[in-house]
Amino acid sequence: MRVLVCLKQILDPDVPARDFQIDPDARAARRGGANLVTNIFCENAVETALQFREAAGGDVKITALCYGESSAEDCLRKAMAMTVDEACLVERDGNTNPDAAAVGRVLAAAIRRLEQDGGAFDAVLVGRESGDWGVGQTGGVLAEELGRPALGFVESLQPGNGSVTLRRQTDVGIEVAEAEPPFLVTITNNEDNVPRIPKTRDVMMSYRKPLQKLSLADLELDSEEIRAGSSIFEVEEIFIPADEVECELAEGDTLEERVDQLATRIHEVVASIG
């Protein structure tokens, strides 16, 4: 069985508030002093895949795929340290903030390319959303591009008899589904798919595992359109909301007067916000 996990490298969401800056012209966050990390839901996806392989008894090959800058190699190395078998980086050029449509198309092209070389992927795992933009569309777009059935908010995969049992989170509870490969799932977090810390030996070994690099030219894609960032939506403006605190004291001689005053002001303020 072949499993593919898609990864995204993002700006550390834990960056201290004061260090978080945005570039209004580029309409994106500035890197500044912040670190780059693997998106947490993508790491949950890696962990879910690893647990699936363990439950299946080993006959599962896991590939990690990323569309990003060369720095994203770190994410793939880390995935391989977590014992993912192989990795592929599609190097991004042009637009640094491609939208989900562009990313989905690049990933789909890359997957087709990888499938040509090594056989079809039975399951494709994508994080449910990224910690930077949080659009949450990549999984859907990718499923559409690949023409595969997809389920969202999956938290675990269990091997069954020729099928895979999926557990997914819904608003009303956990839904269990049987899926025939090939399929795509977006992975959410639960207490069981907390990404593991790699063993040191695996960290060292990760540098000896194959890491394939592809460029957009290697994929049969209209790369001009991809470079432009595609567009299912456009960011018009980006800003950090300013917190304004105004303090006002309810006045009055007696407690009742002050309570009256307070209630009146609350009404006024609520009315003014509309």
Binding site: D14, P16, I197, K199, T200, R201
Partner: protein
Amino acid sequence: MFRVGGTVPVMDPTQATREVFWNIEYTWLVYVLMVPTLAVFGWGFWLKIRRWRSGQPALRFDRPGERLQLFLRNAVGQGRTIKRRYAGLFHTLVYTGFIVLFLATTVVAIHHDTPLHIMKGHFYLIFQSLIVDIFGLFVLVGVALAAIRRWISKPKLLVYTDEASWILVTIFVMALTGFMIEGWRIAVTDDPWAAWSPIGNLFALGSDPWMTDTAMQRGHVIIWWFHLVVAFGWIAWVPFSKMSHVFTAPLNIFTANLDGYGGSLKTIDFETAERFGINHLGDFTWKDLLDFDACTECGRCTDVCPANTVGKSLSPRDIILDLQGLMHKRGDEFLGSRAGNGNGDGGNGSGELLPIIDQKTAVSPEALFACTTCAACMEACPVHIEQMPKIVDARRYLVMEEADFPEGMMDMMNSLESRQHPFAGTQFSRVDWTEGLDIDVMAEMDDPHEAEVLMWVGCGGALVERNRNTVRATAKLLKKAGVKFAILGREESCTGDPARRVGNEFLFEMLAKGNVETMERYGVRKVVTSCPHCFNSFRNEYPHFGGSYEVYHHTQFLDQLLESGRLDGNGAGGRSNGSSTITFHDPCYLGRHNGEYDAPRNLLAQVGGARQVEMERSRNTSFCCGGGGGMAFVDEPPDQRVNQERAQEAVDTGADVVAVGCPFCATMLDDGVNARRGDRDVQVRDVAELLWDAVGDSEEAAP
């Protein structure tokens, strides 16, 4: 007068002596019995030595001069043993008694078996009779005191084994029978020098009224042989019991780590290591294996262990004893398990490798991960056993080979890996604290070499709100003294201390190499830091990674500035901050690990109007705040918090200020003091903050 044998009373003291083997026939049997005795004794120690030699190499016979000094102080001089009064007293009695009695036996042997008839005259009377009698009594009294402790008062720190009881019984029997045979010889021979053997004489006088000479003479023969058999049997038993410490302890002290606890962790060669960390006895060094055999079960390590004190399962004594037990049980099976762990030259790796972790509760992951690496155990050990590095060795195995460790440590390591600091979720950057202080950052300086010293801020100083005041105070004091200093700012990374203590040597090495590279780029030679953990890494660990610096803890540097007059102090006449009593909590990594106790106290003397009081456990016996060894990142069970135990001790001194010199101690004790201070106003302040209050520019005095 009825007399047996050839003793002739001659009242000339220069001729005083006694007959060796009086009343004893078949004396050749003594020599015959000695052969198997010494053979078993030798075989026993040979087994031990063979076992030790199967360990990995360690350099522990270098610097003979220093080793001899340590040997004289703590082996011969019992320097550490006597630190506990009761145990120190009885051990000294038995120990000195044994030495004197051994010398006496040697004198007898020389006198009898060589042409040198030395056992006569004043030497016979004063040493061989009087002094030997007194020290024989010491043994009896010492053993009695030990027995009272073991059988009546029963302190928690002891291990109650039959072996230990038998040791007391047999020593007591040997000493007692010695006096019996001496007494009966005196009585029967009517020894004219009886008065010089007061205890033997007491037995003589006690026996005389109710025993006939014949009975005494017959009793003498029986007890004499009984004494000999017990003594020989005992000697043969020594290598197989904890009495072997008579030899292993001095050897262990001679081969002790001379570099201080702060430099006691091994480095790993990741290129060649077959395994990371230790989960097999054969991966320990010979010195580690010797440690196991040197243990006397005194329990002081566990008694002072902070984790054990608050009720956690960690017991350094039991770790050593459990490993000793496994080592003894395994014999050749164990010898076959030799293999390389990167500390040495590798090995043949033959035989099945028997794991040590989880074989016994003392070496369970839970116990191992309770260690704060405070080194109180090592400081307390009378025979210099190195418990803490072994705990870290085992943690390394769990962390690097098994990826098995507490959750808090996992978050910390994740953060270290992706952000180079352990405080995930901090709201601060590394330079936020400098706001308004105009501090040079090396990367922004035209010539970074202009900086006389690098102020290493540390993650705990820059990223934890509570400690930013400490680094601000330190920086302001440096400025006031006119010190040209700079910081690395965003280029600073964690030194790797928490990773190393937890057992992630790989991560530590990466961080260390990165920092060494950065500092190399700016030609840093001198470092001052307010974090004792960073201080220890720079001082003791970075030299292994190519980074050698002149390193100061901020209290040391400020103390020097005061002393040299660069920083204008006012003697004890600094401003008062309103506190009347200050108690200083020694950080483990400044005090015990690196031997600095006075600098922070000197600085506190500057605080006007306040007197210093000491906690019961201070200086080298200081009690950890609970934050070392990565424990600052672990949630402790509410009823097992080391910081509260320590805070209580601080609060109990009556002090209104608990002074600290470490960002981890500051946060740990802040929490602890708030939980334990009751209605009292007790503050936790760094020494630098207090010093700034006292001698800083008044309008800027810290709040």
